[in-house]
């Protein structure tokens, strides 16, 4: 489903990933575990094609990112740690904008049914700027329910959620895996999910990189 082939990534003059590989098969849930600044978000950004790695490639169903450029949304759904909602719109309007971007058409009944999963039905007409952080997070996670893609990628999904919502998220993910899907998500704590595989990302303190850059500068 997803194949990450030996990625090297430098950012802000620091080496974040070196020779990182990952294979994600069907019906699996993979957790990327690591401390702050270990490069979890950077890895996800690389996978979805926001950042270009120094070398290596990412394949979705055997196709490179360039080949699926305009159809990216069919292959995966990515929930970044930023809350991608516009402040001056209500929850329902935001969801509507999001659905339009994906050219998905649903009637209001279907929408409200899915909003109920995270208990958002009652507050769906509230403006996003009046919501709490947890509520905003729930709204952005609700986008997963609307998507048609098999691969879900989430960045810090359990950050700021209450216990009940974490359980709901767990059940959603398990359900998704049962339906031939797969999930890739990051966290800095170990959640009680049915995780098939755990990948530990270590914080690199690779001084070699700077030494190399010194070489190109000549000796001091």
């Amino acid at each position: 489903m997803l194949e990450v082939k030996s990625i090297y990534l430098n950012r802000n003059k620091k080496q974040i990933l070196s020779n990182f590989s990952l294979i994600l098969k069907k019906k699996t849930m993979v957790l990327l575990l690591g401390e702050n600044g270990a490069g979890k978000s950077s890895l996800l950004d690389t996978i979805v094609g926001l950042i270009k790695p120094q070398s290596g490639e990412v394949l979705f169903d055997g196709q490179t990112l360039e080949e699926i450029e305009t159809q990216k949304k069919k292959y995966f759904t990515y929930i970044p740690h930023e809350i991608c909602l516009r402040d001056s719109f209500s929850i329902a309007e935001n969801i509507d904008i999001w659905l339009n971007l994906h050219s998905i058409k649903l009637n209001t009944k279907q929408i409200s049914k899915k909003l109920e999963v995270f208990d958002l039905q009652n507050i769906k007409d509230q403006l996003v700027r009046n919501l709490s952080h947890g509520q905003k997070k729930k709204v952005s996670l609700t986008k997963l329910l609307f998507s048609n893609s098999k691969l879900w990628i989430m960045d810090e999904p359990i950050n700021g959620l209450d216990k009940k919502s974490v359980q709901i998220l767990n059940s959603i993910c398990t359900q998704h895996i049962k339906e031939d899907g797969s999930v890739l998500f990051t966290s800095h704590i170990y959640p009680k999910f049915k995780i098939t595989k755990k990948v530990l990302l270590k914080k690199f303190c690779n001084k070699k990189l700077y030494k190399n850059s010194f070489d190109s500068w000549g000796k001091l």
């Binding site: 802000n12 003059k13 001084k207 700077y210 850059s213 010194f214 500068w217 000549g218 000796k219």
Partner: protein, 238 residues
């Protein structure tokens, strides 16, 4: 050969050798050309003594254009080959070039008041030179605006490359359109329309400015390289 010169350390080695001769000869030349332009050259048949402003104005104008072309070449190299030295040179050039442009504008307007009868007109030459000044200012501000130096360098390089359309406009504006500013006197190599007695101080002054510019540039580049080395050392120690 190119890569050899592009190495900052090799560059530093050469520039150390060049710097002092450059600086000293620029000072000596400056005083010689000052003597020539004030005492050893005749007044103009029309402008009288006002012509002496030209000995500052014209070298400054030439240098303001050539500095920008250096910057544009460096920006091209920094965008295409991502070389650090190109960024450093462009960054070092910008304030110097801005000063030359400002000097051109100010001396020009001082010259314009007695000669033309006005401080400033919106003529093609003058306006495009003013635009050049704004582009220089934009470069300085952008390259210093970001927390990440390289981001500032890159954006400033983009601005410089776009602003290059201004250069031919400045150069040939006097030929393309009727302007109040007189056409170039020295572009025709066969017979410059300036008398020899006035040409000598002009070129002396130009070379002294050029040498001064080079030594200033070397100084600025050196300090910029040191700043970047300090940055790398700090990164290494953390």
């Amino acid at each position: 050969m190119f890569t050899k010169f592009a190495n900052p350390n090799y560059f530093l080695k050469i520039s150390d050798k060049i710097y002092y001769p450059c600086f000293l000869s620029s000072i000596v030349l400056f005083f010689i050309s000052l003597y020539f332009s004030f005492f050893a050259s005749p007044p103009d048949y029309l402008q009288g003594e006002t012509v002496r402003i030209m000995y500052v104005h014209v070298p400054c104008a030439w240098l303001s254009l050539s500095t920008y072309s250096i910057m544009a070449i460096c920006s091209f190299f920094s965008i295409v080959f991502k070389h650090t030295l190109a960024d450093i040179i462009a960054r070092a050039c910008a304030p110097v070039g801005a000063c030359f442009t400002l000097a051109t504008l100010i001396t020009g307007s001082i010259w314009g008041k007695p000669t033309w009868g006005t401080w400033w007109v919106w003529d093609a030459r003058l306006t495009s030179e003013l635009v050049l000044f704004f582009i220089y200012l934009g470069h300085i501000f952008i390259s210093n605006a970001y927390d990440d130096r390289r981001k500032g360098d890159r954006n400033a390089a983009i601005l410089t490359l776009v602003g290059i359309v201004n250069l031919p406009i400045i150069k040939w504006s006097v030929d393309w359109w009727n302007t109040l500013h007189q056409p170039a006197s020295i572009s025709k190599f066969s017979s410059p329309s300036i008398d020899d007695s006035m040409l000598i101080p002009l070129f002396l002054m130009f070379f002294s400015f050029l040498l001064f510019f080079t030594s200033l540039l070397i100084l600025r580049i050196k300090s910029e390289i040191v700043v970047r080395k300090i940055e790398i050392i700090e990164l290494n120690n953390n």
